[in-house]
Symmetry: C2
Subunit: 396 residues, 2 copies
């Protein structure tokens, strides 16, 4: 049983990464569970993206950041760009040189392992040598594609082979994140979530982590309001789940509380630098998960995504609106945010679903042990039964 600290109302989190990862992980990437083998507290030795630039207009420094990567005239950089920017001003600002490869990617669907494999083959066909860097420009999906491609260029086989924990054995190609959406925490997480032939599951490893983040809040301008809101709520919900979970410690609490406060400033107040604050909220939200875990909402959202193909951010919002029993304060505040921004959630999504699909959804959600353990404690299976889960889904 985990060691309990006198005077503290939380159990110590175990973090030995190779001990029994119990289920799928949230985008934040924490691998969390109780260490039952002995009475010693063990904590995860977690990795952080080691270089950060933050500032309005800092996109102009991308060329400078990459210059040290260009060893010789054959060196080339691959810019993995969300194809929403094709023909837009941002595309023209990408600092292309010599043999650089601009690779627009489509994220209408969340990234599939087959798509990653195709992109990797495309890069390998492009040049005899590996690229000097992979730069992900876009939201969570584009950043996750950049991460997966950088891993699969150096690790043989299909990306589906690496869905899980610490299956990657070779360092990735240098890879950097340029987020154009804020909230997922993908810029700081050690995972990249992929939909494979058998499961929706991330490639979780220290090698997945970016080598560099460039935060330019000006890049958030122009995002459609719905997408801005849903992606931001991914972060807000991270925070609620992390702060209300059993795994919380002072590290995750400091990041989670500040992230939540920044979300309130962005979604319930007016600030000239709201975009700057949202980028910080996203980063802090991701850091909060490092020693904690998400919970019921992310688990249920994974079911919605896997079976109905619903994108992660909106899926989280759809599920969260029915979780008053789990997160009463958080859900009430979330509804205020929705009202303030005139957001209408889709309803009755499961109305015409057959029993088999509903069962698959329930199974997907309940497979995520660490998320439920964080939300409800080690006895969660006695509380969150398949019947209760099905009833929740039927209301959505």
């Amino acid at each position: 049983m985990p060691r309990l600290l006198p005077g503290l109302n939380y159990p110590v989190l175990c973090g030995r990464e190779r001990l029994a990862p119990l289920g799928e992980l949230a985008p934040g990437g924490g691998i969390c569970h109780f260490h039952e083998e002995d009475s010693t507290a063990m904590y995860r030795n977690f990795s952080i993206v080691p270089k950060i630039i933050f500032g309005r207009g800092s996109f102009n420094q991308l060329d400078d950041v990459l210059s040290s990567r260009r060893a010789n005239s054959d060196s080339y950089i691959v810019f993995v760009m969300d194809d929403v920017f094709a023909g837009k001003p941002l595309e023209k600002r990408i600092p292309l040189h010599g043999k650089d490869f601009l690779l627009p990617v489509n994220v209408d669907d969340e990234p599939k392992t087959s798509y990653i494999d195709k992109l990797v083959a495309q890069i390998k066909a492009y040049a005899p040598q590996l690229p000097a860097g992979i730069i992900g420009i876009g939201g969570g999906a584009a950043m996750d594609i950049a991460k997966a491609v950088s891993l699969l260029l150096t690790n043989p086989g299909s990306s589906a082979d690496y869905q899980g924990w610490d299956l990657i054995t070779k360092p990735a190609i240098y890879h950097a994140a340029v987020p154009t959406l804020a909230g997922t925490g993908a810029e700081i997480s050690r995972t990249c979530i992929l939909t494979g032939p058998e499961k929706k599951l991330g490639i979780n490893s220290d090698y997945t982590l970016f080598d560099q983040i460039l935060f330019d809040p000006e890049l958030l301008a122009g995002v459609p309001k719905d997408q801005w809101f849903y992606t931001g709520m991914d972060c807000y919900i991270h925070d609620v789940e992390s702060l209300n979970g059993k795994f919380i410690n002072a590290f995750s609490m400091a990041y989670g509380e500040k992230s939540q406060e920044l979300c309130r400033q962005v979604f319930l107040e007016d600030h000239a630098d709201a975009a700057d604050r949202l980028m910080m909220a996203s980063y802090f939200g991701g850091m909060s998960i490092a020693y904690s875990q998400v919970g019921a909402c992310h688990a249920l959202s994974y079911g919605l995504s896997y079976v109905l193909g619903i994108h992660h951010g909106i899926g989280c919002c759809i599920a969260f609106d029915y979780l008053d029993d789990f997160y009463p304060t958080g859900v009430a505040e979330f509804r205020k945010m929705m009202t303030r921004h005139g957001i209408q959630l889709p309803r009755n999504l499961t109305k015409n679903m057959d029993q088999q699909s509903l069962d698959k959804m329930v199974k997907t959600a309940l497979n995520l042990d660490p998320l439920w353990a964080n939300c409800l404690g080690p006895d969660w299976k006695n509380i969150m039964t398949p019947e209760k889960t099905l009833a929740l889904y039927k209301r959505m």
Copy 2:
């Protein structure tokens, strides 16, 4: 002149590290100034310690963390330990193996370059090959010694040769921090402050940064109350100076505000996990400086240290108590904290000083351009005259 953002009340910070570092740096390590060469905003690409463990009892994992560093039977680790722990339980818990070298260091005085050179010679005499790692166990001074030693084992000459910015050319020996005091931010800064023959100035470089931090809040137990308070106030004052400075941005604000809030919880409230919160406050305080800078108090404290040999934390407290005009709210709250913990500051320190020493103190403080520019803006020299500085010192 720097680019100004419409709607924001702060100038954009310039961060090109090699452009005109104007003066000495604070422990947080930010190199900050306005970029006057063109109108483009430039931001520092700053480095972060890439691996962190946080948790009560995590000191037990140090052996595990270091195991991958021990390549063969000749590999050895140097444990730079504050000699206050000599013969204490913590010393016995240090995971010594084979040829490991336990190196107690004395920090009655703040670290001198001559002391660093002596320690480096001692390690070189100990074994024909370089150590596999340097572990700093102690407060800011012990951690700074560990950083300096790890740099000077691979860079030739005296540590005094490297006092400044980016003078280090070779990567350091792997080095890790185990703080036993919280507040300096030394665990996360890219500098190690040394008193040299000519100046008190840090070795500022990305190589200075630790490779690993192990935060075990249990290690804060047993620190004398005065030292706990003064070191914690180093952090609180960081935060006040960063948040009230001209260089502040959303990144530094998020870290600084949360750090300040955690300081309030530690010094004005009662929490069972106060040590955990103080460690987070210190880390966040250091991160806040990354894109910001300290200010008047740290500048004045450097003068007190250089001329009177006063330690950094208490020096900050002595100076801060006379800075109502600069930081009215911060100073008022600081006094509440002092009252709550029964802290009596030393007074009349400059009463019997000769004019030459006073002038040296004034010169030391006013030499720190970036700190004053952050505090008072680019025209600071018209505001903070030598006469005004002298008058402040004379009250201390």
